[in-house]
Symmetry: C2
Subunit: 149 residues, 2 copies
DNA sequence: TTTACTGCAAAGGGTTTGCATGAGG
DNA sequence: CCTCATGCAAACCCTTTGCAGTAAA
């Protein structure tokens, strides 16, 4: 796991440090599309002296290495470890962002169709559906703090 | 045209001013997904004293009135007048963002499928395909200034 | 040993806010 | 007339940058 990761980074001429491995794992092992602040809070438990500058720098490296994708929202960016075609469900109430369990194939087909018909070389994609998650629809307004776009 | 627009704004209890009409038209009549700066430069020709604060304020109103959609990118946000399900083609070289001519129906179907299977009430969507447009692929590197995500 | 990453601090820049003036309804 | 929008300026905050010390290779 860390072996693969380290190899992939070195392959880009990037130096592998414990901090970078921790940041990479914090994003790659997540499913909640964490923000920089969230990554910071998680990694700081292991590296109390780490600063945001290191987080930003490392996230840039990871993105350029093709390991993660930045998802800019209105307030802050979030980070996506799943680069395969899929749909993100974004709750505008609580701010949660989760990968949909359905629609992967449909996104792949759509991508192929558009790439062919529009003659547009597609590198990657972002498919966001904005709405109200089950929990919030049920009235369980939890933490409207992180509310995204 | 302006009649409809004015009515729609008043219907939200929003005061209609010449500045707001100009900003609304600048976005609604555009197809290039302009940024705040671009809207500013276009509207300033008619209202030289207008400031960015008014642009931001009006764009908020237009978004809350359901007339436009903010598209956050890494550097700046752009604004989308087309709220119907569709695909945006984002060129990572020149930064152009255009609506794809294909795939509308596929996005509608995908939306319905996910809404049903995931039990997620979808309000609106954002479908971006990132890649290289025909012009840039042909080597005509034009203005790599606005390069988006 | 050489190179480049970390941590700290300061700067940058898009966006937001507060307030007095002025215009819409 | 009363309310709210405009314009101006300052504040905000996320993000970037510069630099000295330090760790990877």
């Amino acid at each position: 796991m860390q072996q693969q990761l380290a190899a992939r980074l070195r392959q880009w001429g990037v130096r592998v440090t414990p901090q970078r491995l921790a940041i990479a794992e914090a994003v790659l092992n997540s499913s909640d599309h964490p923000s920089v602040q969230q990554i910071y809070e998680r990694v700081r438990q292991h590296f109390p002296s780490m600063t945001l500058a290191t987080i930003y720098s490392t996230l840039d490296v990871l993105e350029q290495s093709g390991l993660i994708q930045e998802l800019p929202f209105q307030k802050v960016s979030r980070y996506e470890p799943n680069l395969d075609p899929h749909v993100n469900l974004v709750c505008v109430q609580c701010g949660d962002v989760v990968d949909a369990q359905q629609g992967h194939q449909a996104v792949v087909r759509l991508k192929n169709q558009v790439a062919r018909d529009a003659n547009f070389e597609i590198g990657w994609q972002r498919v966001d559906f904005y709405g109200c998650c089950r929990r919030c629809a049920a009235g369980q307004a939890s933490q409207p703090a992180t509310a995204s776009q």
